[in-house]
Amino acid sequence: MLAALIIVFREVFEAGLIVGIVLAVTRTVPHRNMWIMAGIAGGTLGACMVAGFAGALSQLFAGMGQELFNAAILSVAVVMLIWHNVWMAQHGRELAGKMRATGLAVAEGSKSLLALAVVVGVAVLREGSEVVLFLYGIMTTDGSSNQGLAIGGLAGLALGAAVCWSTYKGLLRIPPKPLFMVTTALITLLAAGMAAQAVSFLERANWITSLSTTVWDTGWLLSDHSLPGRLLHTLIGYTDQPTAMQLTVYIGVLIMTVALVRLVDSRALSAQASVKVAPPQNL
């Protein structure tokens, strides 16, 4: 039972963290619960489908279907995260200053929510398919110990939900202004970490073979498999043995996101300034 709990919890832990962060990011946006629930539901449905077709998926691309599928959905999540940060740089100021009519803000806000709902869906889908396969395996075999395993699995799921809730509540303790900076930084790091993870899947599939030397090995200090290691893996993309390519992509995505946000932010700021300066008869 404990083994089942640990296996399931390990898988849902990452998704729990990501959903918690997204909840904190969208705390002021109307209808956000609906979008996030849709993301979770979509991700769960996708996880069941991936689990159901796991065998077939594996056979694609000369046996590398799983790896390429993971790389693809991670890339989608990376794009959505970057896009969200850029969108916030563009509109965050307006939303905060309530310069826009609420209706329009909601309509615009839902675009960004869609991006984050996709991120939630991807997180649930990736972690969930393994949980589904594991639990399904337990349910289909006979034996008296299976009930205990199933209970353990469900307890693991509940613990994952608890991680999500405490991440959310923990972040909300931060006052609104620094919180915005914290979540922007978290999303940027999340994007870079996911991009590096996508690279590692492409490396496993032998689709990326250059820059394959391991840059460092800090497994002795903090293993990927330990709980703190997993926490850092999700939050900042920590890996105990990154390849040069993973590191390059990680840094590249960080720089690109920060540069894009700065560019858009300075434009939004100057646009806002020019609106304030403009004489009223022009309106």
């Binding site: 083994a3 296996i7 689990a51 796991a54 065998g55 594996s58 056979q59 000369a62 046996g63 590398m64 799983q66 398919s129 393994e130 396969l133 594991f134 399904y136 395996g137 289909t140 075999t141 496993r204 599939a205 032998n206 394959s212 497994g219 293993s223 990927d224 498999h225 043995q241």
Partner: protein, 114 residues
């Protein structure tokens, strides 16, 4: 440019190409197979050559999915019930590399690289 020189160039190109192909064949993956049935790896210890990329085929005979995992090999792969998974492994230094089924901690095995 004469016909002869074109032929020479084609010949050089073809031989260069075949050199590249034969080189890549030298580095071709060595194929290794491990079976998984009744919650156990068979064989429990797999011999493998060092400094050579490996293609590890995991054949899951059980009616349950399993996850082939190894920290030292940096590998993680779900293999569905009654199916086969392929894992690419980079060239390894000699040593013993442990692996296990992440869904069933009792199933363990070793890749013995020499």
């Amino acid at each position: 440019m004469t016909v002869a020189s074109i032929h020479t160039k084609i010949l050089i190109a073809v031989s260069a190409l075949s050199c590249v192909i034969s080189l890549s064949q030298v580095h071709a993956q060595q194929s290794i197979t491990v079976e998984y049935s009744n919650g156990q790896f068979r064989p429990g210890e797999l011999p493998a050559p060092a400094d050579q990329p490996l293609a590890l085929h995991v054949k899951n005979r059980d009616p349950k999915a399993m996850e082939f995992e190894s920290k030292s090999l940096r590998v993680e792969k779900v293999v569905a019930a009654k199916s086969e998974g392929l894992i690419n492994i980079r060239p390894l230094k000699p040593g013993r590399y442990e692996f296990y089924d992440d869904f069933n901690a009792k199933a363990r095995g070793v890749l013995n690289v020499r």
